[in-house]
Symmetry: C2
Subunit: 112 residues, 2 copies
């Protein structure tokens, strides 16, 4: 999860991922499209690969990179846990505040 986010947090890496979203591509094509130097693209792809975001498939001297769906699915699942209760949180704010104000009587805070 954290690996996924870290990998995606880098701007150029994000661009690469978005480029691969359309279809798999060889390194050289990515470099040309994004106007990046080949070595940096290879490095970024390495990171993406280590994070499990992409797969490689060698074709002759070329290496064709494609996205893997699992990490995105995981990210989605994680996001779900935020959708549910987004409105609840607002309500609880009020509760939290009254709790805090009432808490002054209890003094010592062994939260929850």
């Amino acid at each position: 999860m954290n690996a996924t986010l870290t990998a995606l947090a880098e701007p150029n890496r994000l661009r690469i991922v978005e480029l691969l979203r359309d279809r798999p591509r060889p390194v050289g094509e990515i470099a040309k499209r994004l106007r990046l130097r080949q070595p940096q693209v290879s490095k970024h792809l390495r990171v993406l690969s280590d994070a499990g975001l992409v797969d490689v498939r060698p074709v002759a001297q070329q290496r064709i990179y494609q996205l893997r769906s699992e990490p995105f699915d995981e990210l989605d699942t994680w996001l779900e846990t935020f959708r549910r209760g987004a409105s609840d949180r607002m309500d609880r704010l009020e509760v939290l505040i009254s709790e805090r104000k009432a808490k002054k009587e209890r003094e010592k805070d062994h939260d929850d």
Copy 2:
């Protein structure tokens, strides 16, 4: 988008966000729960705030932080663009390969 990912990429920040997912909390409570020093928590919250991930609400000397839903919605929307076509990409791999092999005749590559 990138701001959101960058903010979430930091492990402790991710922990803070997940803690805030349950309910809004004051800085001190976050620090205690996550066993982090207060200044670092404040800094992380600053980053999260700048990225638009959290809102602050002052209550006495306390500052209660709560998640904002917009960034998560955006992230979700962005993720959608990956769900669609996840299977298509696999198919296109084959196409891509045959294209490459047939491309050798055309020589000069002015892609797409």
